[in-house]
């Protein structure tokens, strides 16, 4: 009797193990964003879009590796707008959860905090938010807009429209300072003289310009002097403002601009950190006619975009993840690039036949991985930046953009400062 009992238990246990072994195969994928703190307003939308992308892939069967279909199991962690915590959470994702890939980060400082972790543990990060370049790591795939995919096309457009004077203004941290320095060198190389570049310069001891433009801290609200300065700068006509202010400081800035009577036709302002998501909380009637430059606008009239938006809205109604807001949602470029990143990774994995980071990286660097997303075709370059379309739009009163110019398939370039220094040296400046 006892022996029979033992044998039965053993049989049941073995059967259970066998059944478990035939359960659904899943792959763990990390999502590393700030879901609380000051960046939560921007980053929670990226988490929502990633969950949407994962659900779409799972509904279509999953990722095919070998002859098995793997469903994506998201592991969502909260960086809480705390940069050292980002590094800790990255470590947790790579070393404890053993995720195959991480989609995350928004601010450049969060990316720089997690970079050593990814390099040490040889993880893979897909980074979707416009940034200043000057970085190239084999552990990061930059689906984001590099400077030459956002700032430079906008400046080219303004130069072509006859603008001669550029006032540089931004928040005081690495992204605006680096971008403005790149733009300063770019403008010099294109014949704009330093007197026509406004905002002030910081020079080092040898007189070389190390920073160009006017910078304000995060959360700054008193723009009276700066707008008076801009007004004098623009008094002679043919001037524009390059605005890299981040966060809600944009609200008092634009209110002051409107109060001073500066219209977009007199002095256009091109903002690099304002997309449809941020425009939900800025009085947009102050912004009608101002410019934005991204690799995706929600108002793109392509069939892929229409289809994408329809599926996104349908998913929002039916999903039940905690914390996802259902009403008044818009889609902007960082969200769309997060979505593209997921599909690019899926394609690379399926081509490589494995989730192993080395194998996936090899396929990504071959230059063959591309995806026809809502913004058009996006291809991963051998240096792990991405080639994509770039659009310039003007703001409409409803917080959307009207697309006025398109630059198709712009190749992302990481090292603009060195390139421009060489160009300037060749010109003798």
């Amino acid at each position: 009797m006892k022996k029979l009992l033992k044998l039965t238990t053993l049989a049941i246990a073995l059967a259970a193990i066998a059944i478990r072994g035939q359960a659904q195969d899943t792959v763990k994928v990390g999502v590393l964003h700030s879901l609380s703190g000051t960046m939560a307003i921007s980053e929670t939308s990226l988490r929502d879009m990633l969950l949407f992308a994962f659900d779409q892939i799972n509904a279509a069967g999953g990722i095919k590796v070998g002859d098995k279909m793997y469903k994506i199991e998201p592991v969502v962690v909260d960086g809480a707008s705390n940069w050292p915590l980002f590094a800790e959470k990255a470590k947790e994702l790579l070393e404890q959860d053993h995720v195959a890939v991480v989609f995350g980060c928004w601010t450049s400082v969060s990316r720089k905090s997690v970079l050593p972790v990814f390099e040490k543990d040889d993880g893979l990060l897909f980074y979707p938010v416009q940034f200043e370049g000057e970085e190239q790591s084999e552990n990061v795939v930059y689906t984001a807009e590099a400077v030459n995919q956002q700032a430079i096309p906008a400046v080219d457009y303004l130069l072509a429209q006859g603008v001669k004077k550029f006032y540089l203004l931004g928040t005081d941290y690495v992204y605006p300072r680096t971008t403005n320095l790149i733009l300063y060198k770019y403008l010099l190389a294109h014949g704009v003289s330093p007197e026509d570049i406004g905002g002030g310069f910081d020079k080092d001891d040898s007189g070389k310009v190390i920073s160009a433009g006017k910078y304000v801290p995060f959360g700054y609200t008193d723009f009276q002097q700066i707008v008076a300065d801009i007004k004098q700068f623009a008094a002679g006509g043919d001037a524009c403002v390059i605005n890299t202010i981040n966060g809600d400081s944009n609200v008092p800035f634009f209110k002051e601009i409107v109060a001073a009577g500066l219209t977009p036709d007199e002095c256009p302002i091109v903002s690099f950190s304002l997309a449809e998501d941020e425009l939900r909380s800025i009085p947009t009637k102050n912004l009608v006619g101002e410019l934005g430059c991204w690799s995706y606008f929600m108002s793109l009239k392509t069939p892929e975009n229409k289809d994408f938006l329809a599926k996104w809205n349908a998913w929002l109604q039916t999903e039940d993840y905690p914390g996802v807001v259902k009403e008044h949602r818009v889609v902007d470029s960082p969200m769309e690039l997060s979505y593209d990143g997921v599909y690019l990774w899926k394609e690379a994995v399926e081509k490589a036949g494995s989730f192993d980071v080395d194998a996936v990286r090899k396929v990504l660097d071959s230059g063959d991985i591309s995806f026809d997303g809502p913004s058009g075709k996006i291809t991963v370059q051998p240096n792990q930046y991405t080639t994509k379309n770039v659009y310039i739009g003007t703001t409409l009163a409803n917080g959307q953009f009207e697309i006025i110019k398109q630059f198709p398939q712009v190749v992302g370039e990481p090292w603009m400062l060195k390139k421009l220094d060489t160009e300037l040296a060749a010109q003798g400046k």
Binding site: G200, P217, T221, G236, S281, P283
Partner: protein
């Protein structure tokens, strides 16, 4: 004969003079309007040089219809209807919509409603038609035509802006046009603008005598906008030495003028920043200064006022509603409650007056919240500053979370009423209307507060309670009631500050945190216990901040220097600018 015809001739003469004085009459008669309509429709459909020619023609007509259509074109309100035969018809949509939100289309070429083959009027929703596209270059060309048309606009601001743009266009053919306009112009500001524009355009003349006269004129007018052109001219190597000297002296004189403009501008900015500081600090001066309560929730009172303004704006508009679901449930039932206020859908001047209603309501709402706070928490904490600090900090966190739940974590949009937009310019120094309004209102509030404290019975009681609470209580003063009213008054002032700050800055759940430190700083520097100290310290800190910002060129360095000076000042005078000397021990 002569006696009869003299008054007749006189009247005819008057009529003729009137006609000459009036703005260039629009193409009179139906025929003229039709020609303008045809030209407009053609301009919309063509491109390149032909389009530019048509726009130039339209600019000469002086037609208000042309102004309206061209304006609509830049605002994406001109649409292209593709007829069944493939041709494009430019149309505009009428503002009236039917039940399904569709409106009839007005053809631009003949002013009639767009009809289909059977003669039925077609109706379109906004997204059914594609707007006639414009790029920046075309918008500039249209704006140019609008500027020419605006030269005769009834609004002097529009005329000034038009004149300014023509002056910067470097197109000498406008000189005659501007000189013609100068003869008819009555407004002094616009006249100055026209003279500047003419002189700027004459800088490009080949005749050196004309150039010399233009340079001298620009120096006399102190025209800041012409600096770029003067610098460009100075770089020209074949100027005569007199011309070169005249240019340098003109540039020098304009730069001096800019220095004075910045000087007065900085003083005005300093006063306006000081008035904002005073606004946020006055309420705290009363609660902290007069009652000795460290109220860390003061910033949230400001936010209450700002959110009240937002709610009033929405009530005047399309309505306001919110819905809160608590994260826990009682007996399996989730707790949710919400509110839905219908909007008044006001338009025009009634809508623009919402701010005047918002001001007293912000005061009352914040006062009520302050009252509630005082009755429930503060009244137990009068002699315990550390506990009051901690408790009010907790309240501030709770209030911030309530704002997040009711209004959302994002900032909310509060639009300025149109009578607060714009600015007043005196000799190139511009004074924003909303800043002037804030300064004016702050003066009223300070006077009102002083009157309350110095001249009314309540003020007498407040001062008595402040000086010696127990003695006042012995004299029969109902100290609890006085405390309540004082705290409510201080909070109400914070609410007023919030209403004004919603016009200048952000409105979000954590907006209070931006102002709390500055408020305490202002009150402490001014001297705890009196209002006049707060006034002086607010104005002083505001002006010092702006002056230093102007001198150092960096917004942050200025603030740092001001803070260091405050620290040093407090070492020298720890009780602030104006101290209250009293014999009481506490």
């Amino acid at each position: 004969m002569k006696l009869v015809s003299k008054p007749l001739f006189w009247w005819l003469g008057v009529l003729l003079c009137l006609k000459v004085d009036a703005a260039p009459a629009p193409s009179s008669g139906v025929e003229g309007t039709n020609v303008v309509r045809q030209e407009l429709a053609q301009a919309i459909l063509s491109n390149g040089a032909e389009q530019q020619e048509l726009l130039d023609k339209l600019a000469d007509t002086g037609s208000t219809l042309a102004s309206d259509v061209l304006d609509a074109w830049t605002m994406q309100e001109v649409y292209l209807y593709v007829a069944p035969d493939g041709s494009s018809v430019p149309v505009m949509l009428e503002s009236q919509q039917d039940a399904e939100g569709r409106s009839r289309a007005i053809r631009i070429d003949d002013g009639q409603f767009l009809k289909d083959a059977t003669g039925k009027e077609l109706r379109f929703g906004e997204s059914d038609l594609n707007p006639a596209s414009t790029d920046m270059r075309l918008r500039r060309a249209i704006q140019h035509a609008l500027d020419m048309l605006a030269l005769s606009d009834p609004d002097p601001d529009a005329r000034y802006a038009a004149v300014d743009k023509l002056g910067n266009s470097q197109n000498e053919s406008y000189i005659l046009l501007l000189q013609g306009r100068l003869a008819k112009e009555k407004n002094a500001q616009v006249k100055k603008g026209i003279k500047e524009a003419i002189a700027t355009l004459q800088l490009g003349d080949t005749n050196p005598a004309v150039q010399m006269a233009a340079v001298k004129q620009l120096a006399t007018l102190n025209s800041i906008g012409s600096l770029d052109n003067l610098n460009q001219l100075a770089a020209n190597t074949n100027n005569s030495p007199q011309l070169a000297k005249a240019i340098q002296s003109a540039i020098g004189s304009i730069n001096d003028h800019i220095w004075w403009v910045n000087f007065y501008g900085t003083i005005f900015h300093g006063i306006s920043l000081g008035s904002v500081l005073l606004l946020v600090a006055l309420g705290l001066a009363i609660t902290f200064g007069l009652m000795g309560i460290i109220n860390m929730a003061h910033g949230e009172m400001i936010a209450v006022g700002a959110y009240t303004t937002y709610v009033i704006q929405n009530i005047f508009g399309s309505g306001f509603g919110f819905n809160i679901t608590l994260p826990f449930s009682i007996m399996g039932k989730p707790i949710a409650f919400g509110l839905n206020l219908p909007g008044l859908n006001a338009t025009g001047w009634f809508y623009q007056s919402y701010f005047l209603f918002a001001i007293p309501l912000s005061f009352l709402t914040a006062a009520l919240v302050g009252l509630l706070l005082e009755r429930t928490i503060i009244q137990f904490l009068y002699r315990r500053p550390l506990e009051s600090l901690l408790a009010t900090w907790g309240v501030s966190l709770a209030l911030q979370q309530i704002f997040r739940m009711v209004f959302g974590a994002n900032n909310v949009q509060v639009n300025s009423p149109n009578w607060l937009l714009g600015h007043y310019t005196v000799d190139d120094v511009s004074f924003d209307y909303n800043r002037i309004f804030v300064i004016g209102f702050v003066i009223l509030i300070v006077i009102g507060t002083w009157l309350l404290l110095a001249k009314t019975r309540l003020g007498l009681l407040i001062r008595a309670v402040m000086q010696n609470r127990s003695m006042a209580s012995c004299m029969g003063v109902r100290t609890t009631r006085v405390n309540m009213l004082t705290f409510a008054f201080g909070s109400g002032l914070a609410g007023l500050a919030g209403a004004f700050l919603s016009q200048i800055g952000n409105v979000g759940p954590s907006m209070g945190q931006t102002y709390i430190v500055d408020s305490f700083m202002t009150v402490v520097v001014g001297g705890v216990g009196n209002i006049i100290g707060t006034v002086y310290s607010a104005l002083g800190i505001g002006t010092a901040d702006q002056v230093l910002q102007q001198l150092t060129g960096s917004p942050v360095t200025g603030k740092i220097v001001v803070l260091v000076c405050i620290i040093l000042f407090l070492q020298w005078k720890p009780s602030g600018l104006f101290t209250i000397r009293s014999r009481s021990l506490d």
